[in-house]
Amino acid sequence: MSGGPFLFSSVPALSAPQRMSVRRIIRAGQQTACTWHFRLDEPAWHEFVQYLVDDPVVFVGLWCDGNEIYALLNDGSTAEAGPRPLMASYTLEGPRYRGLSGVRAAAAPFERMIRDLWGVEAMEASDTRPLIDHGAWTSAAPLATRSVPSSPASGLAEFEPPDKRVAAHGMIFGRGPATGNTEGPVHFRLGVADGVIRTVETRAGYAHRGITARMREATLASALHLAGRVGAGSAVAHQWAFSAAAENALGIETQRSTNRCRVVFCETERIATHLLILARTARAADAQIAATGLYGLRERILQLCEAATGHRLLMDCVCFGREAPECWQDNVTVREKLQALCGELMSFSRSGMKELELLWRTIPGFRQRLQQAGRLSDAKARALELQGVAGRACGHGSDLRTHLEAYDDALFRPVVSSGGDALTRCDVMFEEISESFRILESISEQLLNSHDNGETGSGPAVVMLAEPCKGYAAIEGPHGPVWYVVSLQDGRVRQCYISDPASRLLMALEQSVPGTTPDNFDLVRCSFGISIAAADL
């Protein structure tokens, strides 16, 4: 017997066994050129999945490149921590791998997408249904090396068997993908019995455009353009996240003025997107007067954006490595324009917002209708590791903005509430709009800061590396955190992995709708603000 202290003669001291953690398992893997990416062998991958059950790391995303499976975690020990990425990868030795959805529910849509795109199946997965490939594509597993032409689809959608009570004396209602409304295309199959919705099944994939495939080998400019088209409601967040990830990969430090401009774009987008979600929710709840006011205010904001930047939805305003696109010419003017935009936004929008909030609270029966509609329990929200507005409405205080350097100059407090129903989500959005105005107010004062006037706004020179490099970024978008991991080589994108909150929100919707009356389905769906385009990629 050797080693360790002895207390009594030859009896060794009892030492507490050091608990294995996911962090330690991953860090014990093979280190790659990237400091936060480790390769695991098969036993280590299995162990990693096993310990993921009750580890505090936050699941971010799961992707594939045909050779390896990549799992990205936020090693922040709690959801409230800032972005500290930890990536584990596993080299595929066949068409299967140990899946994560059995221990992390949020991994399910990623696993289903990997199967549809690459033909690689997750073992012990919680959900094995196709996600986006329903037989309409030209090829099966289109991104795989050995992709084969698709066999003709039957034309009939396949769904899970209905709930027993629905089968006995209920009805099935289909909704979408073309309803005449302007939300993205998706089909919901609602099982209704005893006057309430008992089951919801989502059929997605109608808006799948092949973003992952299009990103490969794209130039930085075209990839940035594409990032802005993942989902219109969070175009700025996606373009900022992509730019920041590429800048991280190339070791570029952005100037403070650039970050401030991006914050102005991002917060303006948040206000506009929240207003759109609130307006849709009000319309779905038959509160037309509130909907009209919210749509009107949003329209005025978009017109101001167009006057200041030329883009109503602020698409393509974020520029790689600099504060504004080259065509904007004089960067001092850019800052002045943005400062004027902030001033105008605050001068009329704040007062307009207060009036609308008052109206929102006083429409008879409106709040009562939203109350308890589509309630998501805290346990379910935690199981989905839900963040963003929907997560904060369930008591999760995660908001990446509190950790981002770009927000150092901004004064705001993260909005957290409990309740988890449609009313709480709407209240959180109203509060967040107020906080975004506060951010714009504090940032606008700094935009023309004399200490930073030496910054040209054109940013540092961008040197493209010939060797592969990898970077990450996470930005708090209107719906929640948007993560990008990009791999670059020779000035082109080799791989781009995207994690948008939309897929989790879709799962949250499925779990929160049962028990809701059918006439409240639309308002519950709208209150989550799900971007179908971002979920389908």
């Binding site: 289109p142 005449g180 993205g184 295309p185 109608y206 455009r209 009107g296």
Partner: protein, 171 residues
């Protein structure tokens, strides 16, 4: 007189057989049915802004239908995914004749950033005949409204469209 009305007039006059079409001049305003055929949702949100943002849509004689069976024109946004092609086709088939097709946004016209691939058809331009195309990524509500009003104001009648079936989307 709008293209739709002109087409209806010609169709009712030139139709070789079958019952005469109802007098479409009584159909007012011009009703549109919107289908997002798979894009980034920007064009859809601009269409939504057009409907709700106080642009005087009703004054321009334009309305939006909740059902293709009561629509004169199909307004398509998005680059038309292969999954959505049968849906667009079904909406088109459900519309009464005469009918027209309106492509809003670069994606709907030629795919824009979403050219044809395993999942996308790359817009309506390659697989159907479009009556009115409004470019932009996304076009603003003003541009969309101007396009619709121009369509109403001008009458670029095409003989191909006499039976109102030339615009069908083929997957």
């Amino acid at each position: 007189m709008s293209t739709v009305l002109m087409r209806a007039l010609f169709a009712s006059l030139l139709a070789p057989s079958g019952p005469a079409l109802p007098p479409v001049v009584s159909r007012s305003p011009l009703m549109l049915f919107h289908v997002d055929s798979g894009g980034c949702e920007a064009c859809g949100s601009e269409v939504e802004a057009l409907i709700n943002g106080g642009f005087g849509l009703a004054e321009a004689g334009v309305g939006f239908a909740g059902n293709p069976r009561t629509a004169d024109m199909l307004l398509v946004t998005g680059a038309c995914s292969r999954m959505m092609a049968p849906v667009v086709r079904a909406a088109w088939d459900a519309m009464p004749c005469p009918k027209g097709l309106l492509a809003v946004g670069s994606c709907a016209i030629d795919g824009g950033p979403f050219s044809a691939n395993y999942a996308m058809l790359g817009g309506l331009g390659g697989c159907s005949s479009v009556d009115c195309a409004i470019p932009g990524c996304p076009p603003s509500p003003h541009h969309i409204l101007e396009g619709i009003v121009a369509l109403i104001a001008t009458t670029p009648f095409s003989p191909d469209h006499q039976d109102g079936s030339a615009s069908a989307v083929t997957g």
